[in-house]
Symmetry: C2
């Protein structure tokens, strides 16, 4: 173990990013003799697995987020900074922020997550937002709801068809969740609240470049999900790579799909931690790490979650999942504590698969536990219980439960707000 | 009664604005033989009395708003249009929308509410938003919360003082509510979540041009409110007209008050209904109406709520209050139904004062029922019950109640989100 730079005082751990990984790491270091600084661009953490429900008007942003200060506020050894990292100096061991501050560290944990990958077509982003932030979720909600209002008044048949069509790009869990939720929202709203429209006029197209949706799940679960989605009116187009995205719709192979709402869920890449370090990243922008989660060649620097390219015992890359980030965070927090306070070496990380899940619609979800699987209404109930449980604090759990029970009974959506600032940003 | 323009078909009532007045009017006309069209710029109505709680991170926007389609969706004779009115032709009896559509009417009800009056200094608005829309409430919340994050990191004493100061302009009910809520929020957040700050560093200044706050209430209630506010740390400056508002603070008389968050609550003016009609409005931009709420000299045109300058039996102008708008809406809806379907004349409107209330802080509110008054903890409880009851539907009532009970017990704030789109609007 190399010497600490601030001999005599408490060792300093800086964690960049307060997502699942960063928070778990900070919590494992809470109330220890280690000085912990958590840096995030936002003042709040976000329960991303339920962000699609904000985008489809079922929950409010505050229902799935919490100030980082509140989550970590009870521990005197943890400091929370809202700031934007611009570079890291691994020799001087400092993290530089946009406002010029330099934060020194003895150990640095990079847990900055991922963002959507447009594979070089970054101009598509404004037409096809992904689902990583509250701003994007609001943007999608706004486009969806506004299109219905416009369609209700449109006299032009082709324009009305475009307004009532959503295209979801990417058949992974996010794409499937969004396609199912948009389809259910649209049909229900039309039935209930719109006089000039018929439910069957609403179209959701799910575009997937590969041969099946939910490719990381076993084939029987993919098939179940595809059947369910087709049943609630989703038009699934497999083997269909996207060629262009415009304000008017999506170009695939030989045809153009006019659409008012386009959602991007076609793959992620790591946030620019590699750029900060001035090293070249691995596939998907991820930082290759050793089995102990340390970044190769940089002493005292670790990466976890979507930022890290970590391999398991068999040399397979661990997937970019919340449970991986969380387990790595807890593991690393405990290991750093033992290392900094007792001189123990950081052991190798082992991932314990808790099962993989995706929700498809009202009453339908899938679980893959490796040796066994679950699908249908019971899987949905389990999904709902697990997600309420994972929500950070008691008030949110209660609020989200009340809203779900209410919505399940009435099929109403509680957050059907068209944001004024998207309509008239200068007012 | 003049002839209807569409003899033989059902009479048409167009209501512009879906606030308290417009909604009450539409509800009174629900399920009748009258065709009702409700036009609003927004897709949702807003429970404005609780908007200050969105601005101070206690509630989410969706908690206090509901899609107009849902509120009115059950009645087949009511059509909801999201659109912006640009002009009215009282001769042709049509309402023109920004997209070129012309909506014909037999009776027109103008219920477009009011906006904040900057008395010719419209450039102050961007520094000192009022509290009329969700966008403004989010803007205030964002400025408040961001200032605490910046203050936590600031090394500059004067700048830190500016960051920790809010100025509320106007000592009416909105100003008092905001000053009390900001003061409580700031002290509690600092105590709980910020390491480098002390609660007594937080400053709230309430600036009032007149000799006392809450001037429309009896003097003993004003005094009670002022004492309570001073007690929770609000610095009240009476007889202090504002001379300038900048991004850095507020200029009053001989001194400049540096502040990070400035809130405008110093008077309202009616929205531009008079412009649409091409007539000159009365004081505060309001349309003078006869005792039957009809606009002088324009057949078939009525105005209610903040839009109207209506006089009571004694020739006094009715105040711009939600209860006035609501009573006028219900009255006019019923009267138009009798007029259009049975040929009855529209009678004179009489206002029934249900009591006037303002909330000052946790455990403190005032009620003025004319002959008797109420203040303190019991008034606050009554205020809370009344406001939960007035929230439109059951789900919202339940959600808001749960949050209030939780907050009352823990003093936590549930919606402490700093909006990313204010930070990085282009992302």
């Amino acid at each position: 173990m190399e010497e600490l730079s601030n001999v005599g005082s408490r060792p300093r751990v800086v964690i960049v990013g307060a997502g699942f990984g960063g928070l778990a790491c900070a919590k494992a270091l809470a109330d220890t003799e280690v000085d912990v600084t958590v840096i995030d661009r936002r003042n709040h953490n976000l329960f991303q697995p339920l962000l699609y429900q904000v985008a489809t008007a079922a929950l409010s942003p505050a229902d799935i987020s919490e100030p980082i200060r509140r989550t970590l506020g009870r521990s005197d050894n943890i400091h929370v900074l809202m700031g934007e990292v611009v570079s890291i100096d691994p020799t001087a061991r400092t993290v530089s922020l946009a406002d010029g501050a330099a934060i020194p560290y003895d150990r640095l944990v990079l847990a900055t997550g991922s963002k959507y990958n447009y594979f070089g077509n970054e101009d598509w982003q404004k037409h096809a937002p992904g689902l990583k932030s509250i701003h994007e979720a609001r943007q999608i909600r706004h486009r969806l709801l506004l299109a219905f209002e416009q369609a209700e008044r449109s006299q032009d048949e082709a324009e009305q068809r475009r307004l009532l069509t959503s295209v979801v790009i990417g058949g992974g869990p996010t794409g499937v969740e969004m396609a199912g939720a948009i389809s259910e929202l649209g049909r229900f709203m039309i039935e209930r609240d719109f006089r000039s429209l018929r439910p069957e006029q609403h179209h959701v197209v799910l575009v997937e470049a590969g041969p099946r949706i939910l490719a990381t799940f076993p084939e029987n679960l993919s098939d179940y999900a595809a059947d369910y989605l087709r049943n609630i009116g989703v038009d699934i187009r497999l083997n269909t790579p996207v060629e262009d995205v415009t304000a008017e719709g999506v170009q695939v192979k030989d045809r153009f799909l006019p659409a008012s709402c386009i959602v991007w869920g076609a793959g992620v890449k790591a946030s620019p931690a590699a750029d900060w370090l001035g090293i070249s990243p691995g596939p998907g922008g991820r930082l290759p790490v050793a089995r102990d989660l340390s970044v190769d060649g940089l002493e005292g620097v670790y990466a976890i979650g979507d930022t890290a390219l970590a391999l398991d015992e068999d040399g397979e890359a661990l997937p970019a999942l919340a449970q991986v980030a969380k387990q790595q965070g807890t593991f690393l927090g405990k290991a750093l504590k033992a290392s900094l306070l007792k001189g123990a070496a950081v052991p190798n990380f082992r991932f314990h698969n808790r099962g993989n899940t995706a929700v498809i619609g009202r009453n339908a979800a899938i679980f893959d536990f490796g040796t066994w699987q679950l699908k249908g209404r019971f899987a949905w109930l389990l999904w709902a219980i697990v997600h309420v449980y994972l929500l950070v604090n008691f008030e949110k759990r209660l609020l989200v439960s009340v809203q779900w029970i209410w919505r399940y009974t009435t099929r109403q959506r509680g957050a059907r707000l068209i944001d004024e600032n998207f309509i008239a940003p200068d007012k």
